[in-house]
Amino acid sequence: MDKQFQLSNRLKTACIVLIVIGLIALAYGFFTSTQQTWANILLNNYYFVSLSIGAAFFLALQYITQSGWSAMFKRVPEAMNFYLPAGALLMLLLYFGMHHLYHWSHHDAAAHDALIRHKAPYLNTPFFYIRLVVFFALWIWMSLTLRKLSLREDTEGGLALFEKSELYSKIYIFIIAITFSLASFDWIMSIDVHWYSTLFALKNFVTAFYHGTAVIVLIAILLHQQGHYPGLNKSHLLDFSRYLFMLSIVWGYFFFAQFMLIWYSNIPEETIYFYRQWHGGYKVIFYVNVVANWFIPFILLLARRMDQNIQVVKWVSILLVFGFWIDLYTQIFPGTVISPRFGFIEIGSFLGFAGLFTLITAWALSRAPLIPRNHPYLEESLQHHVES
């Protein structure tokens, strides 16, 4: 039915080369501009943790809705979840760079600033790390539980394991809803410590789901082009691109809702966030963000014929890989590095993290059959056919 995915030496070498480039870029960065390097580490690590969480949510959603069409591809989001332990370790490294990123973490910040003092019982360094550890522990534990059930299903079969997975998925999405919201407040929103947005958590969650799905689609298509997933047909592509199309609208909606309310109410403590972006040299990137993450996917995936074109879906997904980076760039850089910078540190560190993520995901994919064996909806997925 399928051939086992092998982590080839070529891929392994390529990933290690990318990781080495990343390490060189970070080392170079620490010698030239430390703050910018820490901002890059936060950006890239948050990027790939978001992808993992998006993938976990995608997987949980398939169980909860008992979707048949996607049963074949569930190893891909499972494999993406394996980045979480690495992401946890790298996030803990932030301890050494906190003062470069978070103004509230300075000892004297609370003394001179009433607002930071007000937030201090929640936003202080020890509690920040306690939360971080709890979040990652919950995510890793839940992802491992789902993975174990999925592997047991391969050998044992039966409906009981599927029903158990469904139950755990229901718990998992509640955990993600709460913990990922708080995580995005902690890691990203607290950069601009005086600023807040009630839509921030939703927007970042939707971004994680959106771009996580894009990467799942990209991996599935790349594997298909390598000769795996021979059953991937136009109906699967249509469903994948419907996900992307729907999420592009939701992303655009939340992006615009957050922007419009702040722009319209025109309260200085809120508008400072966009003032920094528009007048700090980020205005072009601000528009590129909207075009790359909403406009192009929306227009390209509007027609059904385009939805079923494997090249279109693949290149939209690749565009979204860059779009996500731009989205995070506009969220993190104005508050830390202030003026926009782009060079070897940005490119190199992204390549390094991408190499790490690819290596972990490919390794996890090679550890289990690419197509699950006894999934109750597997046959429906293999025979998936909708009118076109």
Binding site: F259, M260, W263, Y264, N266, L302, R304, H385, E387, S388
Partner: protein, 166 residues
């Protein structure tokens, strides 16, 4: 006189439609209790409906935005807290709402025209059991005994519960 075949099962219907298509018989119409994907494909019905919806949406966006621009910038500019008259972000929400509204209403009329539907129209229903649990195929009769018998045989071999002329 049309030939009408009544099926009990969806699979039998789809099999019969495949056979009819292979034999190059033109199928007039199919009535099913619920939408069946294969039927749409086998009948090869093409529709320009989605393009009309897109055209209405595009037209609505252009019209609504130009209307808002005319009223709030050209005809009667007002100063709202020092904001520019051409406050584009605040135009978007009403544009989305009115676009959806225009697409809905105009699509309804377009659909009614395409399907020749109007208030008080009598339902076209060769076999009323299609609204219960039966699948009904309507073939255009050729007026020849032999041809009618052949089509009836095709339907029966694939499990038609009844074949009759009407």
């Amino acid at each position: 006189m049309n030939i009408i075949g009544v099926f009990n099962e969806e699979t039998q219907l789809v099999d019969a439609l495949h056979e009819l298509k292979e034999q190059k018989v033109s199928i007039d119409e199919v009535y099913t209790p619920y939408p069946v994907h294969h039927v749409f494909e086998l009948l090869e019905r093409k529709t320009s409906f989605t393009w009309w919806a897109f055209a209405y949406g595009f037209m609505a966006v252009v019209l609504v935005l130009s209307f808002l621009y005319y009223t709030s910038v050209i005809d009667w500019p007002l100063n709202f807290g020092g904001k520019p008259s051409s406050a584009f972000p605040s135009f978007i929400v009403i544009t989305i709402i009115l676009t959806i509204f225009s697409i809905t209403i105009l699509s309804l009329f377009t659909f009614s025209v395409m399907a020749v539907l109007y208030p008080g129209k009598k339902a076209v229903m060769p076999d009323e059991r299609a609204t219960d649990d039966k699948f009904v195929v309507v073939l255009r009769g050729q007026g020849q005994e032999a041809e009618t018998a052949r089509l009836g045989d095709i339907l029966r071999t694939h499990g038609a519960a009844e074949v009759y002329e009407k």
